[in-house]
Symmetry: C2
DNA sequence: CTCATGTATTCGGATATGCGGATAGGTGGA
DNA sequence: TCCACCTATCCGCATATCCGAATACATGAG
């Protein structure tokens, strides 16, 4: 894997990093990975206003991280690619190490 | 790996997602992984103002993603954990799939 | 002590982002 | 066609983020 060009970095930032740069969106993606849902159900499950859930879903959908499928009058949202979860889980692992190092530094 | 709590998501966002949410910081981390450097050298290599490089480095350092070591009058910065690169590379892979899907969708 | 060099921070201003109530728009059943 | 329900968007406002020149601060050499 070579060193990425600025073009690739810009694209990566715009599509993925931005998407992941909000705790509620992280929460939404984990929830959708666990179980696809419509906006209302998602908003209720995560205890957030419908407009907030819809806004985030629209954003994630535009970036291609989330997929929408119409089902009657509602729209079922699902995760486009499970590897997004793997990316986030890897970030969790890195985080753990960071926190650990930080505690050691207090000695 | 269990579903993360909001606390963990907030921490993850604050420490890692935020750090990664800027193309120049992505660039900086790849550069430091390839070769630790001082601020001036880094700024020159990446063709950005010294103040910009320093500001980003300070930010990454506070989050623990980057490590600083004094060497005389200069400060050598390096990547704290190579797995950060792995996270970014995984994002690149996901990105490729997204872009591919997007092209197919144009048929 | 003074200078040269490298680093960190300040500053004003532009831009981006998030929020959530209110509202408009779409969909299917009766 | 009317209604109930679900979804998307609008709006005003608050906050966060980034920039880069200028400036302050730190370090080591002479």
């Amino acid at each position: 894997m070579t060193i990425p060009s600025m073009d690739e970095l810009n694209l990566m930032h715009d599509r993925i990093c931005r998407s992941v740069n909000d705790p509620k969106r992280l929460q939404i993606m984990y929830a959708l990975d666990e179980q696809p849902r419509n906006v209302t159900a998602l908003a209720q499950a995560l205890d957030m206003p419908q407009s907030t859930a819809s806004r985030h879903l629209t954003m994630l959908r535009q970036r291609g991280l989330v997929v929408a499928e119409r089902d009657g009058s509602s729209v079922i949202y699902g995760l486009a690619d499970h590897r997004i979860i793997e990316v986030m889980n890897m970030m969790r692992n890195v985080l753990r190490e960071l926190v650990e190092k930080q505690s050691n530094a207090m000695d």
